[in-house]
Homo-oligomer: 263 residues x 2
């Protein structure tokens, strides 16, 4: 049997899970579900490496993970096997044999998160589990201005829940896009990496700016002080999606028509 | 207090309901939920008239209903009151005061149903409750040909579960559109009216045609014989949406951006 390093492109509804990362006994995580099935498939227990953790309740449209397997199955067979045994809220969109040394987290060049807000009290019934129903109008121009200060290379310590100050908290946010369609507002954030809870705290800070609870300039102080207390609240997990993880060269050729159109 | 005839544009996730039409004691229907709240609002129990029934498990993106109320509330206040007390899987998209004689069913000119099929075994995790995951490829050309025979004014008795042969079973299907995007196939059906279970049986018959289990021509025999047994199976409720109900003149000016975009 040949040893293969297989990368998986994953989609999941995080609603009923305790996030990506495996936990001891009471395991109810995406990583845990995948490893259990892969163990059944190969007979050996191996770790699957995710591009990063997603919090409890956070969704993924394009999470990437990789695992080394001794199997005669080809890419498509691995994908089908997993989809057959995975619950209906986790799906493998694509599987690819990648170079031996490929690591989904260490090789990730860029990540994109999307945060979905509905300015109505009630969101589309079909989207209700995937959007934060705010129920208030937002000043998108003020949010845009604050977003402008956040883009770039900064110390984002103030925008993270991580207490561990040993590791560097400097990250580069390449783009923050705000799109309004009717009552829905979408915040798309792209960067070379995101600290623990960073995407949700950025979203929460932008929301407070849009509500006029803080000035656009105030985010500059947070970047300078690195004070978590000075930043905004942590927006609810249900509105956040890990949209995509970029590699060079790209490893997945996703059929965009697949699983992308929802009513 | 002025008596008003108020029309509601409704959206609902039918997954956990026994359909539109109120039922005796153990009531778990859309109509029942609405009437209970309107009774609390006005103090009087009145019937709300739907444009038509939707089966248990069938969804609606644009159901229309109307009710006569004695209230000082304006349209927006009625909408907000209902949305405040309705469960999160039923939403009023718009409320409008309409002419005294307006009746959502009797005045309906045209209805559009959409049936969502995924040709993969597993559909998008975010759409899983709103699509029939078929797991087989379909011959869309054969389906298109069968659809061509169905369009027009015919006796659709064979495409209905309704045993009552007293009422006319002649209907006019104005259009059946098939759209493929990746693994998803959407069947959009527009007609002046649909018999009991007709939309689901039309979808099921087209699916059997796409699977090669029956010839496109075979639907002609069903139209001629009126034999339910000759038609296809009744496609699962979860894939069906009552998309819209048309009136002349139109009564709703829906902001299409609202609640229409889902990831």
């Amino acid at each position: 049997m040949k040893r293969k390093n297989i990368a998986l492109l994953l989609e999941y509804d995080g609603s009923r899970y305790d996030g990506w990362q495996r936990q001891g006994n009471t395991d109810n995580t995406i990583q845990g579900k995948l490893e259990k099935i892969l163990e059944k498939m190969t007979g050996v227990c191996q770790e699957i490496h995710g591009s990063g953790r997603t919090d409890a309740g956070v969704h993924a449209a394009g999470q990437v993970a990789n695992i080394h397997l001794d199997t005669d199955m080809d890419e498509k067979e691995v994908q089908n096997y997993l989809n057959r045994y995975l619950p209906e809220d986790i799906r493998v969109l694509q599987a690819r044999v990648v170079p031996e040394r490929f690591h989904s987290r260490l090789w990730a060049k860029e990540k994109t998160y999307t945060y979905y807000i509905d300015m109505d009290e009630k969101s589309s019934v079909f989207r209700r589990k995937y959007v934060y129903a705010l129920g208030k109008r937002l000043d998108v121009n003020a949010m845009q201005q604050a977003a402008g200060y956040l883009v770039g290379t900064h110390d984002f310590a103030g925008f993270s829940s991580n207490k561990n100050k040993k590791k560097s908290t400097v990250r580069t946010i390449k783009d923050i896009r705000l799109q309004v369609s009717g009552s829905s507002l979408t915040v798309t954030m792209t960067g070379d990496g995101f600290l623990y809870n960073m995407a949700r705290i950025l979203a929460g800070t932008l929301i407070e700016t849009g509500l006029g609870k803080r000035t656009p300039d105030s985010v500059k102080d947070v970047l300078e002080s690195g004070d978590r207390q000075a930043a905004g609240f942590m927006a609810p997990a249900k509105g956040l999606f890990l949209e995509s993880v970029a590699y060079e060269p790209e490893i997945f050729l996703l059929n965009k028509g697949d699983g992308e159109t929802v009513r």
